[in-house]
């Protein structure tokens, strides 16, 4: 067995650890791994080119950009912001936990492309979460704002990942079934998907608790800031 192509993995790890440009790191790793496996340069170039254009579908997300860009120009984020600010009952934790639940539920039904970072997180969820966080602490700083937005993105990922695996016709379930069948283990997809259910429930409980915890942290700093302000004013 030829172990030299593993150096490609080493290049990826070192490149990311040294914070070099990821696009460059990935291409260098691919070329190194191909050459070390004994591929000729023309074959390697053809392999890279062929795989690249075969994977155009992963960039389909850019189709959402004209809509999102136009709506943002017309004040979509400002609207999302003021709408949330007007809803007294809707706290940051309630907003994100509801989104988590809905996203996870829809994913278990196979409705995966219905939401996502360009479609829902950037134009809607992130500004709403920011507005909800501002209700807790009006003096939100940039670092806190970033953490709120990042938490919104994380919530979308977790809802998607730990919902889709429960869906029968999901690629992952079919991959598991297909791979095991190739190796002589015949299973019904229903039998596989059911075992993803305990983890799905755990994912909801764990992440929802973390969201609640995050909100509590914000409330604490808000209280401290307010006390500080009051103390400063008293001087």
């Amino acid at each position: 067995m030829n172990y030299w192509p593993l150096l490609g993995i080493a290049i990826v790890v070192i490149g990311f650890a040294r914070r070099m440009n990821p696009a460059l790191v990935v291409v260098v790793a691919g070329i190194a791994s191909g050459l070390l496996a004994g591929l000729s340069l023309p074959d390697l170039l053809a392999l890279v080119g062929r795989s690249f254009v075969s994977n155009r579908f992963v960039l389909i997300l850019i189709m959402t950009l004209p809509t999102i860009g136009l709506l943002e120009r017309a004040g979509l984020r400002e609207r999302a912001h003021s709408w949330i600010a007007g809803l007294r009952q809707l706290t940051l934790a309630r907003l994100l936990i509801s989104y988590l639940g809905v996203r996870q539920f829809l994913s278990t039904l196979g409705l995966i492309t219905i939401a996502g970072h360009p479609q829902t997180v950037r134009p809607l969820l992130a500004p709403m979460a920011e507005a909800a966080a501002e209700k807790i602490d009006p003096a939100l700083d940039d670092a806190q704002r970033d953490r709120v937005k990042a938490l919104a993105a994380a919530t979308d990922n977790i809802g998607l990942f730990f919902g889709e695996d429960v869906f029968l016709a999901f690629g992952g379930v079919l991959l598991i079934q297909g791979f095991l069948a190739q190796n002589g283990v015949e299973l019904d997809p229903r039998n596989i998907a059911i075992w993803a259910l305990p983890t799905a429930i755990a994912a909801f409980v764990i992440h929802a608790s973390r969201i609640a915890w995050f909100q509590r942290g914000l409330q604490r700093t808000a209280m401290r800031n307010a006390e500080q302000k009051a103390a400063d004013a008293a001087h």
């Binding site: 993995i9 795989s51 960039l59 189709m63 809509t67 997180v121 990042a150 994380a154």
Partner: protein, 323 residues
């Protein structure tokens, strides 16, 4: 019939427009970057057809294009444009005027996608299906985006030029992060073709004491998570780790329940996906889209959940697979 190629051509048009706008702003590196990528979108089917017919030259040219794109990305020339916020007052006034109608085109993307996916088997002109069933979700998403864009143009009374300007602004914010998911998929193909996966499975199965059931469970779960972190994709890790450890050791030697091993192995991989910049479209692209100062901000927000879930999966695997 609506085919996926049409969606790729629309994507190509957006990228080409970005190239033209950047060129007019004398941002040559950006212009070259988006134009080359646009060419890959327009020429992709020609490349694949020629390749199937035995002519690898177009594929080699695309391979060179990939290297040039990576070189531009790595050169540090893709600086983002600084946007002034002079527009803020106009945006607030417009938000006030349009109110909740602003949400409609944004919501149209998921709703129309869903409707088209559900209707795919029924929408026919004569005997010809309107949507190619093999790629129905992607075509539905592309069509829904096009419809939503038209709705947004009507609502905000924007011209085509303004629309393309806005998509260029967002592409500019994404910068090289937009390219990363395609590059990572390519790296996965190269790794598969060069036997990287088999080599990893070999080393792992040689390193663990195979008689111990717990050691095998541990190695499988950690192997799935780690290899996913490296590859950025649990689907790439699954055949490698299940073929190397899951099937021969857990299922074969220790008699584990195959369905449990498959499902929970994949979920261990998903925990890895939450932790790695290699899963670019989930972790790096959103950081760029949300304009976070820290490119790893999303990973920082989700690692505690990932770790807790990994332990949950490990316990569930050990318990449920050997009932």
């Amino acid at each position: 019939m609506l085919r996926i190629e049409y969606v790729y051509w629309l994507c190509g048009a957006l990228l080409l427009a970005a190239g033209v706008f950047e060129f007019r702003d004398r941002r040559v590196a950006q212009a070259a970057f988006w134009t080359i990528l646009a060419a890959c979108f327009f020429g992709g089917d020609f490349v694949l057809d020629a390749d199937k017919a035995g002519n690898t030259l177009p594929a080699q040219v695309s391979g060179l294009a990939v290297i040039v794109l990576a070189a531009i990305a790595g050169s540090g020339l893709l600086t983002r444009k600084v946007h002034d916020d002079r527009d803020a007052d106009r945006r607030r006034a417009s938000a006030e005027r349009l109110g909740n109608r602003l949400f409609l085109p944004a919501l149209a993307i998921p709703v129309v996608t869903l409707a088209l996916v559900l209707l795919t088997p029924y929408v026919k002109i004569g005997a010809i299906a309107l949507i190619d069933a093999r790629q129905s979700t992607l075509i539905a998403l592309g069509t829904a985006c096009a419809i939503a864009a038209v709705a947004a143009m009507l609502l905000t009374r924007a011209s085509v030029k303004t629309t393309l300007h806005e998509s260029t602004r967002l592409l500019d914010a994404l910068s090289w992060a937009a390219l990363l998911p395609m590059l990572l998929a390519t790296l996965g193909a190269v790794f598969a073709a060069t036997g990287v996966g088999d080599a990893v499975a070999h080393i792992v199965s040689a390193a663990i004491p195979t008689q111990s059931r717990d050691a095998c469970v541990f190695a499988y779960a950690i192997g799935m998570a780690l290899f996913t972190i490296i590859m950025g994709n649990a689907f790439a890790a699954f055949p490698v780790m299940t073929g190397g450890i899951g099937l021969p050791l857990l299922i074969g030697q220790h008699g584990a329940h195959a369905a449990v091993v498959g499902a929970l192995g994949m979920l261990c991989g998903y925990c890895g996906t939450l932790l790695t910049p290699m899963a670019a479209n989930f972790n790096v692209v959103p950081a760029a889209l949300l304009e976070l100062r820290d490119p790893n901000g999303v990973i920082r927000a989700q690692w505690p959940t990932a770790l807790a879930l990994f332990v949950t999966n490990l316990v569930l695997l050990d318990w449920l697979a050997f009932r």
